[in-house]
Symmetry: C2
Subunit: 350 residues, 2 copies
C-alpha cells in the first residue's frame, strides 16, 4: 500500500465494504508491521482478512518501466499476482496508475482479441450515470482500438448497470457523417455493420456526455482524459462561482444558510468519491484503480464496482463480443470464461 491515501484510509474503506458485502474476504498486501495494528482497530474486517506481507512499495512518481523492473516485491505486484493465481477475484489499488496498468498487462495478459487496454469511469449525468472510456490508458487510438473500447464499454455497462442493450456513442465534433477524424469515422462504420448486442447511437458531442444521451461514450485516451479533467475543472469553477455569489450579499448568506441541507445534498451528488474508480478494461482480470487522494468512502466505492464486475460474466463477454465482430459471417464462438470464476468475491487490496 504505497498510495497517497495511506493504509489507514484503505483499511477503513475495506471495513465499509465489508459491512455492505458480508461474505467478502480480503487479502491485504502491504507492510505487515504497519498493517497489523491498523487492522486490529477493525474487528469485523480482521475476521475476514489475511495480511500478505510485501516488503516494498511502488512510489507514486515511479515510471511504469521502472516499476516493472524493480517492483516484484511490492504490495501492488503481489495484489495483481494474487488475481493471476486465482487467489483473489479482483484487485483494488489507490497506487500509481501507470505501474498498476503495466503490472496488470504483464501479469494478467490481455483478453483474447483485445490489443490495448482502456481505463473506464462512471460519469454522473442528467439521466443517471454513463460509462466513458478510454480516459488515458492510451495517448491516441486507431479505429480498431475504438471498436475494442466500444465492446469493453458495453460489457462493463451491462455488468454495472444491469442493462440488456446499452446505447453506445462515439465522441466526435459533430453529429454528421462527414465530420471528425478518420479513426472515429472508420470505427463508426465497423460498429454500424456489427451485430453486437448494443444500440449503436452513432456520434455524440461533448455536451451529450453530461446530458446522458448514451450509456457508453467511446473515445481515445487523449480526448477522454482531457474531457474528464475539463469536466472536473468546470464543476469546480461553477462551485467557486456559486460560493462567490452566495457570500457576496447578506440575503445570499442567509439563503445559503437556509438551503445548507440542499447544498450539502448537491455536494454529495457532485462528490467524485461516490463514483470513484478507474476500471482497467481489456486485461484478463478485474483491476480497479481508486483515486490516490481518496478516503474510506471513496475506496469502498471502488471495491463496490470491482465486486459488480467480478459477479458478472464481463471478461468472457468482452472476448466473445470482440470475436463476433472479427468473424462477422461465422457464428460467434461459444463463451469461454476467462479469469477468476464469479461467485463469492475475494478482493486483493494493495
Amino acid at each position: 500500500m504505497g498510495s497517497d491515501a495511506g493504509p489507514a484510509a484503505i483499511l477503513a474503506g475495506a471495513a465499509v465494504a465489508r459491512r455492505r458485502h458480508p461474505k467478502i474476504r480480503f487479502l491485504l498486501h502491504g507492510d505487515e508491521a504497519a498493517l497489523t495494528p491498523l487492522l486490529a482497530k477493525h474487528k469485523t474486517l480482521a475476521d475476514c482478512s489475511e495480511i500478505c506481507h510485501a516488503p516494498d512499495v511502488v512510489r507514486m512518481d515511479e515510471k511504469p518501466s521502472q516499476a516493472l523492473r524493480r517492483g516484484r516485491n511490492s504490495s501492488m505486484w503481489h495484489a495483481i499476482d494474487s488475481v493471476a493465481k486465482g487467489e483473489a477475484a479482483v484487485a483494488v489499488s489507490a497506487g500509481n496508475t501507470g505501474a498498476l496498468m503495466a503490472f496488470s498487462m504483464f501479469r494478467l495478459g490481455m483478453i483474447d482479441g483485445i490489443s490495448r487496454p482502456a481505463i473506464a469511469a462512471i460519469w454522473p449525468t442528467m439521466r443517471g450515470q454513463s460509462v466513458v472510456l478510454d480516459l488515458g490508458a492510451n495517448a491516441g487510438s486507431d479505429a480498431e482500438q475504438l471498436v475494442d473500447f466500444a465492446v469493453m464499454g458495453e460489457a462493463f455497462a451491462r455488468a454495472i448497470f444491469g442493462l440488456d442493450r446499452p446505447t453506445v456513442g462515439l465522441l466526435n465534433i459533430g453529429e454528421e457523417e462527414v465530420k471528425g477524424v478518420e479513426s472515429v469515422k472508420k470505427a463508426a462504420h465497423i460498429l454500424r455493420q456489427s451485430k453486437l448486442p448494443i444500440e449503436f447511437h452513432g456520434f455524440v458531442e461533448g455536451d451529450d456526455i453530461g446530458a446522458g444521451v448514451v450509456d457508453v461514450v467511446v473515445t481515445d485516451g487523449f480526448t477522454g482524459n482531457v474531457a474528464l479533467k475539463t469536466a472536473e475543472g468546470t464543476a469546480k469553477l461553477v462551485a467557486h462561482f456559486l460560493r462567490q455569489a452566495l457570500t457576496n450579499s447578506l440575503f445570499g448568506r442567509i439563503g445559503a444558510l437556509l438551503a445548507s441541507g440542499a447544498l450539502r445534498a448537491l455536494r454529495a451528488k457532485m462528490d467524485p468519491r461516490s463514483s470513484n474508480g478507474g476500471v482497467f478494461l481489456g486485461v484478463n482480470g478485474v483491476v480497479v484503480k481508486s483515486h490516490g487522494g481518496t478516503d474510506a468512502h471513496g475506496f469502498a466505492s471502488a471495491i463496490d464496482i470491482a465486486i459488480d464486475m467480478a459477479r458478472s460474466d464481463m471478461l468472457a463477454r468482452i472476448s466473445a463480443d470482440r470475436a463476433a465482430i472479427a468473424i462477422k459471417d461465422e457464428p460467434a464462438p461459444a463463451q469461454n470464461p476467462t479469469g477468476p470464476t464469479p461467485g463469492q468475491p475475494e478482493a486483493a487490496v494493495s
Copy 2:
C-alpha cells in the same frame, strides 16, 4: 442575415454596440425590404448604418463547399467581401460557421506563414478569462499547426486582455515531458526554443483551463471542440443538480428565494452570451462568429471582441511572430501590417 437569431436580434445587438462605441459605423448586409422597417425602430443605429442589399442567404445546414459554389449573392459573402475591400474593418455574423470560415479563407486569404485557421473563444476561469483554441476549425492538427495556434492565441490575448507577455500552455494528458501524443510533444519543443514574447508554461491538463493556469490554452480542433462542449454540458449538469437540490425541500426553496439575487448573479456569470463569439484566427481580416441562437446582448459582445481586435495590431503581430519562429537565427522581419488599418472601426454585419 440568414442566422437562427433573425435580423431583429442582430439589429438590436448592433444598437447595443452603438451605445457602447459612439463612433462605430455599420454596413448591414441582408434583405433590404426586411431590414429597412427593422432599422427604423433603432434611430441612433440608423444614423450610423448603411443597408447593403443582398438577395440571398446561406442556410444554416449548407455545406461549406455548397456555400462557396452558390453563395456569392448572400449577405454573408457580401460582409466578408466588404472586409476584403477595406470598406469594413471587421465582419460579425451569427450564420453558418463552416460557410463563414470557407468565405473568410477564400476571400481574405491566410496571414503570411499560417497554413490553417483556428477558432478561438474566451473561457471564464477562476482567475478571470483565458483564450482557448482551436475549437473546431480543424479535425486534428500537427505540431506546426499547434505552433501557429500558439502564435495566434498569444496575439489575440494581447489584443483582448492587453497583456504584455501572455502565458501559453499546450493541452496534454499529463504535465510530464514523456506523456501525450507526438504532435503535442513536438510543438512544446518548438515553442520552448522560440523567442516569442510569451511565457511558455509547458503542458496543461483539462482541469487547468477552468483554474486559469495560463492565459492561452492551445490544442487541436478535435480536442478543443470536445473540451468546450464537455464544459458546457458539465455547467448545465451542475445547474440541473443545483435546481434539483434547491427545490427538494421547503428550506431549500426558501433559501433559494432569499438568495435569488445571488443566484441571478451566478447565472449572469455563467451566461455564455457574455463571452459570446468564436473568433476566426489566421485569416487575413477580423471575422467573429456569434452563436446562432444568441440575442442582442450576445451579438453585442461579439461586436465588442471584433472592435478590440480591429484596434490592435493583431494581424501584423501574428505574421511577425510566426516569422520569428521560422527564421530563428535571423532578426524578425519588420512588422508589415496586413488587413484593414486600425482606427475608427467599421463593422460589416451579416
